[in-house]
């Protein structure tokens, strides 16, 4: 009797959030999916069946090809850059240097700032003007230091402009990866390191053969977390460069096509493509985490 009452109370407690999640997450995903198969264009809802034509149109669209290229560049530079820099910072902090707490906070602080603020600051730092009175930020710094060859057009550079936006994202998120790696490094027992040293391994070999393999789960987490963030990136790009096609990504295209152009069907289809691409990354990870947690 007691157990039944407990179960009843349990269900009662979680029912508001289940209800809210069901309506505001799953019901709306379902509705978006339905809209993505419709001919809806304009302010009045139109659910006329359009099969997969919206999707075909998007995949044939040269603008979407630009979006995919940009997302790949951004994801590659951002994820690899954040992981490398984060790992490096963590290893340095792990050497037991003075003022570790200070540096740890310093590297973590950028994470507390919103992408919009980061974007506004980096927009100024990466001002693409090379000459004349409009040069500011890095370019003028390079000029004054006599490093003129480093000055460049940043996010206005054709094709690779996206990489410089990833720089701002690396600045913001590498502190987070550092925290992940630092926690990972601290959880590795000191005995392992000592045993390796007794066996005659040098520092490099210890990191290569002991630390890195033990840190693999941390790297996977970082990869997934950063990866899904970069697929959804929107605010940072808009804050740095506005909405311009050379720096277009699927999220910006979705926004413009839906709210500027009133192509609701097509916009919903882009939304579904984004959802699926994030899900492909996240779902195996969640299953993996749940499985390992259950084993423990």
């Amino acid at each position: 009797m007691q157990i039944d009452k407990d179960r009843f109370l349990n269900i009662l407690f979680i029912s508001p959030s289940i209800l809210a999640v069901f309506i505001f997450v799953y019901a709306f995903i379902g509705w978006s999916a339905r809209v993505s198969f419709s001919k809806w264009k304009g302010l009045t809802a139109d659910y006329t069946w359009n099969s997969i034509n919206n999707y075909l149109e998007i995949f044939a669209d040269p603008r979407f090809h630009v979006d995919i290229r940009n997302t790949l560049i951004f994801t590659g530079v951002f994820v690899i850059g954040s992981i490398l820099l984060g790992f490096l910072l963590a290893v340095m902090l792990d050497q037991g240097l003075k003022g570790e707490g200070f540096f740890r906070s310093l590297f973590l602080f950028p994470m507390a700032i919103s992408y919009i603020v980061t974007g506004v600051v980096w927009r100024w730092l990466m001002n693409p003007a090379m000459t004349g009175s409009r040069v500011t930020g890095f370019n003028i710094l390079f000029q004054n230091l006599g490093l003129d060859f480093l000055a460049n057009t940043w996010y206005n550079t054709p094709i690779w402009g996206m990489a410089s936006i990833a720089l701002a994202a690396i600045w913001q998120m590498s502190g987070y990866t550092m925290a992940l790696y630092l926690a990972g490094l601290r959880s590795i027992p000191q005995e392992l390191r000592e045993a390796a040293q007794i066996d005659g391994a040098n520092e490099l070999q210890i990191y290569r053969h002991i630390m890195l393999p033990l840190l693999a789960p941390v790297t996977l987490s970082a990869l997934i977390i950063l990866g899904h963030m970069s697929l959804k990136v929107f605010d940072l790009i808009v804050a740095v460069a506005g909405k311009q096609l050379p720096l277009d990504v699927p999220a910006i295209y979705m926004w413009q096509v839906t709210f500027d152009g009133l192509f609701y069907g097509k916009g919903a289809a882009i939304g579904m493509i984004l959802l699926i691409s994030v899900a492909v990354l996240i779902i195996p990870y969640i299953r993996y985490t749940l499985k390992t947690e259950a084993q423990q």
């Binding site: 009662l12 264009k41 302010l43 090379m130 311009q244 413009q256």
Partner: protein, 428 residues
């Protein structure tokens, strides 16, 4: 742990969710119940700051004087060019809760969106009873109509096809103000050779603005109008030539254009860093703000090839289908179209009246010249600012333009424009 308290709290949470669900529809029905009193009018706009908000206030005073018993409710939503306001408006319209009247760019931006969804009423009777057809340019009316029905009351007029120039730079290099495309290119060649930045350009929408003026200057007003009615073939060699002109004009622009706002770009001209800039006449208000003097720090002319043509854009007000206070809304529209209303609004906003009979002495030097042109020129509409193409069409052109700026391929650009006209415009 106190289970009873928890149970109570969660019950409370469920109950409040349920109540919230019941509450929402009741709230949206409320304005409808007040309808019979007709003692108020709700006017929706994105005029929340600067000359626009001050102009709306001035017009409101005129409205109050004429209709002392109607309460004016200013439902303005902040956000430049109405991006936020339009999203809010769309939500209200879908919930069946329209404001009595709202602001929008005159022309297809309003017609393509709201007439297609049967959300605004034709205003032909009002135009006739108020005599507006006599005081507004004849060539304006078809641009704000669909199938013979006029759908909005334009309050102000801005001009899109203005070539701003730095008189000092032109004089120093012996360049005359160009009136044709070829003269313009020749002038910019001279300037470029002398080491002067010939053309100042900004972010992507300012490039669309340049495109529409080059199309107009290359094709002439009739063929330009035909682009938007389906009479001019987008795939014709004339359009190809116009796009080639556009591609050529882009080669004279500053390389960091993508990172400049329209203000940044316009400022280059008055600061003597560039010779020409193509921008709407709101730039003049900005130059005055910077403390610059007309005809010494900046000069103006119609964009090359568009002399005698006034490419306009306009903020206008509409009448909602099912407006809760229909009579009061009509009273508001009468003020918006009246001489007093427009004379109150425009000097403050820095634009000219849609009517041609406003008192010129109220306006500055540039605006007086614009008023003369407005009354005498052929009127055509702007693409970037919502007159000639609906939102869907404009977005497709914007995408095609963005791809063109990246790859410079005129042929694909033109075929994308042909496709855009077929999918969202009148072309079949």
């Amino acid at each position: 742990m106190n289970k009873k308290l928890f149970a109570l709290l969660s019950l409370l949470a469920i109950a409040s969710l349920a109540l919230a669900a019941c509450g929402a529809p009741a709230a949206t029905e409320a304005p409808a119940e007040e309808a019979p009193t007709a003692s108020q009018v709700e006017v929706f706009s994105w005029w929340t700051g600067g000359g626009e908000a001050a102009g709306l206030d001035a017009m409101q005073v005129v409205f109050k004087a004429a209709n002392p018993d109607i309460e004016f409710i200013n439902a303005a939503v902040a956000g430049g060019a109405g991006t936020n306001a339009r999203a809010v408006l769309a939500t209200r319209l879908q919930a069946g809760d329209p404001p009595d009247s709202w602001q929008g760019h005159a022309g297809q931006e309003l017609i393509g969106t709201y007439v297609a969804a049967s959300q605004i009423e034709p205003l032909n009777d009002l135009y006739e009873s108020e005599g507006w057809l006599e005081v507004m340019p004849e060539t304006l009316i078809p641009l704000i109509s669909q199938d013979g029905n006029i759908y909005s009351v334009p309050v102000n007029i801005h001009r899109a096809n203005v070539l701003w120039y730095n008189p000092g730079l032109l004089e120093a290099n012996g360049v005359e103000v160009p009136t044709t495309m070829d003269e313009w290119f020749a002038a910019m060649d001279t300037l470029k050779a002398a080491g002067v930045q010939p053309l100042a350009l900004g972010e992507q929408w300012t490039k669309m603005h340049l495109l529409e003026t080059v199309l107009l200057g290359s094709l002439g007003p009739d063929a330009y109008n035909g682009l938007w009615t389906g009479e001019t073939d987008w795939s014709s060699p004339e359009v190809t030539a116009a796009l080639e002109n556009y591609a050529k004009a882009l080669t004279y622009a500053n390389e960091d254009s993508a990172s400049l706002s329209w203000q940044d770009a316009a400022q280059l001209v008055v600061n003597g860093d560039a010779a020409f800039n193509v921008m709407g006449d709101w730039a003049e208000g900005y130059f005055r703000e910077l403390g610059k003097t007309p005809n010494t720090d900046y000069g103006w002319a119609a964009t090359p090839g568009s002399g005698g043509v006034f490419q306009f854009l306009s903020d206008s007000f509409v009448l909602a289908v099912g407006a809760p206070h229909r009579d009061a809304a009509i009273a508001w529209l009468k003020t918006a179209g009246s001489k007093e209303g427009q004379e109150a609004f425009n000097p403050v906003k820095g634009s000219i009246c849609a009517r041609t009979d406003c008192d010129k002495s109220l306006f500055g030097e540039y605006l007086q010249s614009a008023m003369e042109d407005w009354a005498t020129n052929t009127v055509v509409g702007s693409l970037t600012h919502g007159v000639v193409a609906n939102d869907s069409w404009k977005t497709e052109i914007d995408t095609a333009l963005g791809l063109f700026i990246a790859d410079g391929n005129i042929e694909t650009f033109q075929s994308a424009l042909v496709a855009a006209c077929a999918s969202s415009g009148p072309c079949k």
